[in-house]
Structures are given as structure tokens and as C-alpha cells.
């Protein structure tokens, strides 16, 4: 069936809504990355088995749904019961019968599966009442946790393709670009470049061929926003791309997805085929002269391939190496043709802006940073997961309200944003708003949306070392300042962490950083020194402690720490067994001692000691 008029789409939507409304209850089994990793598929199969074996009045298999990431990954696997908005956490296969017998059949709540508020210890039934959700505003992630990713009908039911149909049948390309420009939408892939301006430039380039590309490379370790969208709501990406293609006059589109995301590839492929069947992709879309189709490209999983010029080379089948950008890719991009490249999340925002208007979008967020931003909140917070907040939300709100504070109530030390080449911000910056400009001013960056919370047991020299080592191996190796400069910066960080640091090393590193930023060809090198620069800016004392006092205050840098057993030791022998180097001696029920000669500072004893009897100096 081909959809060729707006009316037809509305009728279809109505039909799917009616069908959905007939379901007394819906069982949502989250199939986001976190839940899948904790056994969501088994739970789904168990529900499926029971629902198909037993006849339950009012409940059929149709009520069972796999959706994209619901958000609260910390409590995976998640099962939600709609329309009551009940959320069950840490669900196991054995709970499935209970959920059906009690909640589905008798409307009874199962208390032990509920979320417990870390502060009040209160059990919360409905997920909108959980702070993690109530402080969020979901635009790009609007459908995650609500619709079946592999079903275009479900997307249409919740209003999918309305924006695109409006754009293609009722708007001119210029009007679309104007609307996107007015909305102030900025690229969510990290740079924050105004999307409307990018499209306008591309449209103006006179050429017979224009391309649109979606950047789904998402190379930041620990980030999974784009993955969650591609897996859980692929049609929102396609819809955004179709609007972009119509606006700039493109016939062909590509989605570049990293190899490590097979489910994203599958779901996008299914979505593309379904959209073709409905005539939303392909020749003469909506009975107009506009034709557009999309292909998927699988990236080799190199971080640098997320960079625009490297990505385009990779799509064209060449080595993914950045090229100098004195000619911009909107003018000369893929196959030297004018090309619009946007991030997954950017595209996912587009349909709603067209549907609801630029004014609606600018009403969310702050000036010059309208709308929302998705983050993957990870590290030492209680509620790790996928979140989306209005631009301008403070770091404190994200970490304490949504994230529920730090695990075990430990003191906050820093939050790292912006991916590997982002920066670390200390507690004095907790009240700064999260938007492109504020984060950059603070010495970090938005990046594509990774957010790692660190507690007092994190050493900032060690953190800088970790991210530098990532960049040293992920640099494409083409240009000298990035390849050799970052390597030397990394070597100097190692030198400091091993207690070999000297006066003047920090200044030397700062000078080298300036030159790497000035001299590097692409964004990787230009932001590469950030992990060092932001940590030395806010945690200089910690660096100096390593250099002058040869001490690691956080007790992390192996060469600089010493483990000693205090008088809390009751001789349980756990540490003695755990030590692989036979450095611990002592007999049962007698205090143990660590032989400093043999100790390698691996920390295994600290991990196993339940008496807090091992001090780290």
C-alpha cells in the first residue's frame, strides 16, 4: 500500500490508534542495550510463551511489545505495564507468571519489583513519578520505550511521518529550511552547528546531485544515545532524513552505522523496507516529483570515521582519513557533491519541529540552545541510563535529581562530558547549565552526549591518561601534531602518574597542547589535548601532588600508593587468598601484614576486605 495523501496517513493513524485502544493492557519489555544485556529477550520469550499457551481474556499476544531503551538502564531488565505506566525493575524470568497473574489479571502491584527512591526509600509505582523520568523532557527519545521499533504502523500510530508529509505536500524547501533555522536546532553530533544554515548552504550549491548522510558512528566509549534511537525508533531518523533530502534536493541518502551495532542495522533495514512499501521512500513520494531512497553503510568502528570528511571517504569506500577542510563538505562532500551530514539525534528532532513549528521548539531550552539533548549518564551515579533534558538544565539537576546522586553517597569529584576529547568539570561547575556554549566556556564540550560521573576515588591524572591513550590509538595517524603530539602528551601523563614528573612538565604539556590544537588537521587532534587541559585547569593541585610529593591523593596511581593493614583486621584471611603475589602474611584470626617489597599495588586486597582494614596512602 502506498500512502499518497495527508488524509490517508491520518486515517491510518486513527485505525492503528483504535486497534491499540482496544488492548486493555500492554506489556512493554524494554529491548534497549542495557536490558538486552541483562536478559530482556528471555523475559520477552517467557511472556510470549505464557500468553500464547493460556487464554487470558482481554489479553492477546498483541499486547506484548518489544521497545527501544526505556531509559533507566541501571535497573535493567525493565518491564512496563501500560496504560497504567507501572514500571517493574530487575525483572527475572520467574517474575513473568506473577506479573501476568497479579498485575495483568487483577491489577495488583508487585512491590518487590518497584523502583525504590534512593533518598526516601519509598517504592514508586508509576514511572512518571520517578525523579529519573519526571525531570526529563523527551523529544528525540520520544518514542523509545513506547513503540515497537520494527513496526512502522506503531510509529504511525504515535504520529509518525506527519511532519514529513506536511513538509513534502504543504511546504516549499525554502520554507522548511526557514523553519529549521528559526527553531535554532544545532547539530547534536557535537559541533553544535546550526542545522538550518547547513541545509541552506547545501541547497544553494548548484549541482545535479546532492546527498544527505546520517552520522551513526557514535564512537565515544560509553555513549549509546544514537544507538538507542537507531535501534528503538529508526523511523524517526528516516523521517528526519526525508525532510532534509526534500529541503536540499537530494535523491540519495546514506546512514553510516558502526559495525558494533548490528541490531541498529537490522532495525534500520526493516524500517527502510517498510517505508518503501508505504511509498514514503522511493520514487515520487506522496505523488510528487520528489524521489529519495536510503542505503545503510557499515563503518569499521574507528572513532575517527565519525569525523565528517573521514566518514564521507569511508562511505565512498576509501580509507577513513580526514582531509583538510578548506572546501566544506556541504559544498564538496561525498563524491565531491554538496552533502548534508547530520547526526542521528539531530534528524530525530526534525519531524517534530516541522510538525509543531519552530516556536514550539524554541520554547524548550535556553536562548541560542533550543530544544533538548540526550545523554548517556554513566559512572558513579545511582541511576545510570539514557536521559534527555532541556538545554540549560544544570549538571547538578542531571546528576542528583535524575541520576539520584552518587553511589554509596560518596563525594562528587568531577563529571566528564564530550566523549574522549571532552573535559572534566569539578563541583564548582555543578550549577553551570548544560548547553553547547556553557560547556565549551567551562573547558569541556557537549560532544555527542556521553556523561561520566566520577567520585572522590578517581584520580584526574589517571583519567587524563586513560582518555589520552584512547586518542593516541584512535587518531588516524595522518598528521604529525595529533599522532606524535598526543603520544608525547600521553607519555608525559604516564611519567607524572608514575612519580617521575618534574617541575616544568605541566607547562611543557600546556605548550604542547596549544601546538597540537593549532596544528592538527581535524577535530580529533584539535580537541585531543582536552582531557589534559580540563583536568589540569581544575585539578592542578592533584597533578602537583604527583609531581612534588610523589603522592596520588585519590589512591589510584599504582606507583605512588602504599597499602597497609590497620587494626580493624580480624584475620579473616580473605586478603591473603586474594593476593596473587603472596605479599600478605598472617595466621587466622591474627592481624595480617603486607610485605611492601612484594606488593604490586594491584588493589585486590582492598576489593575483598569487608572490614575496611586496608588503608591506601
Amino acid at each position: 500500500m502506498r500512502i499518497s495523501t495527508p488524509k490517508q496517513l491520518k486515517e491510518l493513524q486513527k485505525k492503528f490508534q483504535d486497534r491499540d485502544n482496544k488492548l486493555a493492557k500492554k506489556i512493554i519489555v524494554c529491548h534497549g542495550p542495557g536490558c538486552l544485556a541483562s536478559g530482556a529477550e528471555k523475559i520477552y520469550q517467557e511472556f510470549k510463551k505464557i500468553l500464547s499457551e493460556k487464554k487470558i481474556t482481554g489479553i492477546t499476544l498483541e499486547a506484548l511489545k518489544k521497545t527501544g531503551c526505556h531509559g533507566l538502564c541501571e535497573k535493567a531488565p525493565l518491564v512496563a505495564i501500560e496504560p497504567d505506566k507501572i514500571l517493574y525493575t530487575h525483572v527475572k524470568e520467574r517474575h513473568v507468571v506473577d506479573i501476568i497473574e497479579k498485575t495483568i489479571k487483577k491489577n495488583e502491584i508487585i512491590p518487590e519489583l518497584l523502583y525504590v527512591d534512593p533518598q526516601t526509600k519509598e517504592k514508586i509505582v508509576r514511572y512518571p513519578d520517578i525523579k529519573f523520568y519526571s525531570h526529563q523532557t523527551r523529544i528525540a527519545l520520544r518514542n523509545l520505550g513506547h513503540i515497537n521499533a520494527a513496526d512502522i504502523d506503531d510509529y504511525i500510530r504515535v504520529g509518525g511521518y506527519q511532519g514529513m508529509v506536511k513538509a513534502v505536500t504543504k511546504m516549499t524547501p525554502e520554507a522548511i529550511i526557514e523553519e529549521i533555522s528559526k527553531s535554532g536546532l544545532r547539530g547534536r553530533g557535537g559541533g553544535g552547528f546550526p542545522t538550518g544554515r547547513k541545509w541552506a548552504t547545501c541547497r544553494k550549491v548548484e549541482d545535479d546531485t546532492h546527498y544527505v548522510i546520517c552520522n551513526g558512528d557514535e564512537g565515544d566509549p560509553g555513549a549509546f544515545m544514537d544507538r538507542a534511537i537507531m535501534e528503538g525508533d529508526p523511523h524517526s531518523v528516516l523521517e528526519g532524513m526525508i525532510i532534509a533530502a526534500f529541503a536540499v534536493g537530494a535523491r540519495d541518502g546514506y546512514i553510516y552505522v558502526r559495525e558494533e551495532y548490528p541490531l541498529a542495522v537490522i532495525n534500520l533495514q526493516i524500517a527502510i523496507e517498510q517505508a518503501r512499501e508505504y511509498g514514503l521512500l522511493g520514487e515520487q513520494i506522496m505523488g510528487t516529483y520528489f524521489s529519495f531512497d536510503i542505503q545503510i553503510n557499515r563503518g569499521a568502528g574507528a572513532f575517527v570515521c565519525g569525523e565528517s570528511s573521514a566518514l564521507m571517504k569511508s562511505v565512498a569506500g576509501e580509507v577513513g582519513e580526514p582531509r583538510a577542510k578548506y572546501i566544506r563538505s556541504v559544498v564538496k562532500g561525498l563524491y565531491d557533491k554538496p552533502t548534508v551530514l547530520n547526526n542521528v539525534e539531530t534528524y530525530a528532532n526534525v519531524p517534530l519541529i516541522i510538525e509543531k513549528g519552530a516556536d514550539w521548539f524554541t520554547g524548550i531550552g535556553v536562548k541560542k540552545n533550543s530544544g533538548t539533548k540526550a545523554f548517556s549518564l554513566v559512572g558513579k551515579v545511582r541511576n545510570t541510563g539514557l536521559i534527555e533534558v532541556p538545554m540549560g538544565t544544570t549538571l547538578r539537576e542531571i546528576i542528583y535529581d535524575i541520576g539520584g546522586g552518587l553511589i554509596d553517597g560518596r563525594p562528587f569529584k568531577a563529571v566528564q562530558t564530550g566523549g574522549p576529547s571532552g573535559g572534566c568539570l569539578p563541583d564548582t561547575m555543578l550549577d553551570s547549565p548544560v548547553d553547547f556554549d556553557s560547556l565549551t566556556k567551562a573547558g569541556s564540550m557537549m560532544g555527542s552526549g556521553g556523561m561520566i560521573v566520577m567520585d572522590d576515588r578517581t584520580c584526574m591524572v589517571d583519567v587524563a591518561k586513560y582518555f589520552l591513550s584512547f586518542l593516541v590509538s584512535e587518531s588516524c595517524g595522518k598528521c604529525n601534531p595529533c599522532r606524535e603530539g598526543l603520544y608525547q602528551l600521553y607519555k608525559l601523563a604516564i611519567k607524572i602518574s608514575e612519580g617521575r614528573g618534574e617541575e616544568g612538565d605541566l607547562e611543557k604539556m600546556e605548550k604542547l597542547s596549544d601546538m597540537i590544537i593549532l596544528g592538527s588537521l581535524c577535530g580529533l587532534g584539535k580537541s585531543g589535548p582536552n582531557p589534559f587541559l580540563s583536568t589540569v585547569r581544575y585539578f592542578r593541585e592533584e597533578y602537583l601532588a604527583h609531581i612534588r610529593d610523589k603522592k596520588c591523593p585519590a589512591g589510584v596511581c599504582r606507583e605512588l600508593i602504599r597499602f597497609e593493614i590497620n587494626d580493624k583486621c580480624d584475620g579473616c584471611t580473605a586478603c591473603l587468598m586474594a593476593c596473587a603475589y603472596n605479599a600478605i602474611t598472617g595466621s587466622k584470626k591474627q592481624p595480617h601484614v603486607i610485605n611492601q617489597e612484594l606488593c604490586t599495588h594491584c588493589g585486590a586486597c582492598v576489593t575483598v576486605c569487608t572490614r575496611n582494614a586496608i588503608d591506601v596512602f
Partner: protein, 256 residues
């Protein structure tokens, strides 16, 4: 023609040419290790960076690689500002750590006042500076026998699987273009070895002198429409033959 200012001097440059060419025409010496006229500019060594600005940029300045930046009307270029020099010094210092034994690097670094690297010497260092000239010339010749493998600090130039490259014809373009003379080959007049692959050299039927490798000749005959017997003699003998012919023609002319 395009009007630009280089180090305070108004000069004219050709439309479409790169800044580096205009700068060099002014006899201004700036290093450009990854640049060669025979191949497309690449922008890897970053030594040729210069400062650019324009009157209408309100004091805003940019630093660009001159080998890659096309000339533009009204561009004001400075090739030796303190920042640019500092950058070149840093790059040379870094190169000296990664290729400490290269005479070319040592000489260039010394010109900028650096005789010892201030960084840690890279273990297992080589003279390869990853300028990419060899792979670019090999691609341009049409062989693509060698390429860059790996990324990051472990990147290197090598034939596929580090075995003698099947597509190599032994033309030696890579060795000749290598700015640090890192690419080694042997040639004893009968046999040539490069990248671990052995080649037999053809001989000129007239002079007995070695010409090019059998593989290279076969390639040129097949792909460049060169007559099959062309490589039976060497260039010198071809020239001699031509001279003889020309002489004959003149002779006939006189006689006629």
C-alpha cells in the same frame, strides 16, 4: 591573476594555485615535507602552515597549511610569525623524537635551532615520517602496491600482509620521492629488490645497459599503449636512433 600579500609584499598569484607555490616563488623558505608537485597535496606534516588574514576579517587570523590552501584575492599571508615558528619548532621536535636518526630531519630541525628532541624518543623509531608521498605516488602510477596500515601511533607504510607486494613493478617511484630516504632498494644492474620483492632488469640491445624491470615494461606496454618493442633498447639508444633519422631527413632535404 590574484593579488595577495606575502610577508608585507604585494604579489600576484595564479588563479587556482596553492599558497605554497606563490610563497616559494618569492624565494621564501618554508619546510614542506609531505608536499611534492607530482601528487595531490595532503596536509600531513603541517610544517608548511602559515598565518592568513584579510583586511575585512576584522583582525581575525587563521592558520592553514599553505600546500593545500588555494590563493584568494586580498589574502594577507605571514610565513614566519612567532606562533608559526613555534609550531614548526614543535613539529620538528616531535619528528626528532619519532625519527631521531634521520639526517634530513636532523638538518631541518637544526635550521630551527633544535639539535636534540625535548621529548622521549619513540622506541623502535624509523626514518619514516608518514608523509604519505610514497603511497600517493604509487596510487598515481596506478599500482597501489603499498599503503598505510593501522592507525594512531602505530600507523606504518607497508605492502599488503607485509609480504612482497604482488602489484609492485619495481619502478622505484616511492624510493625516489621519499623525503627522508627511508625506503631502501638494491640494484646491481641485473636485479633490483624493493619491498622484499626481486625484479629482473631488461637490457638495452644496443648498449647492454640495464633499463627498467620486466614487470614495469609489461605494465607500460599493456596500459599505456607503448609499442611492444620499445623497451628493447634504452632511452639513450632511442635518442640516438632519432638523431640518426633526423640527420637522414636533413640529408634528403639537401639532396632534393
Amino acid at each position: 591573476m590574484v593579488n595577495i600579500t606575502i610577508n608585507g609584499k604585494l604579489v600576484q598569484a595564479y588563479e587556482g594555485e596553492m599558497l605554497l607555490a606563490a610563497i616559494r616563488r618569492e624565494n621564501i623558505d618554508i619546510p614542506a615535507l609531505c608536499h611534492h608537485e607530482a601528487v595531490e597535496p595532503y596536509g600531513a606534516c603541517r610544517l608548511c602552515m602559515v598565518e592568513i588574514t584579510k583586511n575585512e576579517w576584522d583582525g581575525w587570523k587563521n592558520h592553514v597549511t599553505s600546500c593545500l590552501y588555494p590563493v584568494e584575492e586580498g589574502l594577507i599571508v605571514n610565513t614566519h610569525t612567532p606562533t608559526v615558528i613555534e609550531l614548526r619548532k614543535t613539529i620538528l621536535d616531535l619528528f626528532l623524537a619519532s625519527s631521531p636518526h634521520s639526517t634530513v630531519i636532523k638538518k631541518l630541525a637544526a635550521e630551527y635551532g633544535i639539535t636534540r628532541t625535548s621529548y622521549e624518543e619513540v622506541p623502535d623509531s624509523t626514518d619514516c615520517i608518514l608523509c604519505g608521498l610514497c603511497t600517493r605516488i604509487c596510487d598515481k602510477m596506478g599500482f597501489s602496491a603499498i599503503s598505510a596500515v593501522g592507525r594512531g601511533h602505530g600507523k606504518e607504510i607497508a605492502p599488503p600482509l607485509k609480504e612482497p607486494p604482488p602489484d609492485c613493478v619495481g619502478c622505484l617511484s616511492c624510493a625516489y620521492i621519499c623525503p627522508t630516504h627511508y625506503i631502501q632498494f638494491t640494484d646491481n644492474g641485473k636485479e633490483r629488490t624493493i619491498w622484499g620483492k626481486k625484479f629482473k632488469l631488461l637490457r638495452c640491445e644496443k648498449t647492454g645497459l640495464p633499463t627498467i624491470t620486466e614487470e614495469f615494461a609489461a605494465y607500460l606496454i599493456k596500459h599505456r599503449e607503448i609499442p611492444e618493442d620499445y623497451f628493447k633498447i634504452n632511452d639513450l639508444s632511442h635518442r640516438r636512433e632519432l638523431a640518426l633519422k633526423m640527420g637522414q631527413i636533413t640529408q634528403w632535404g639537401r639532396e632534393a
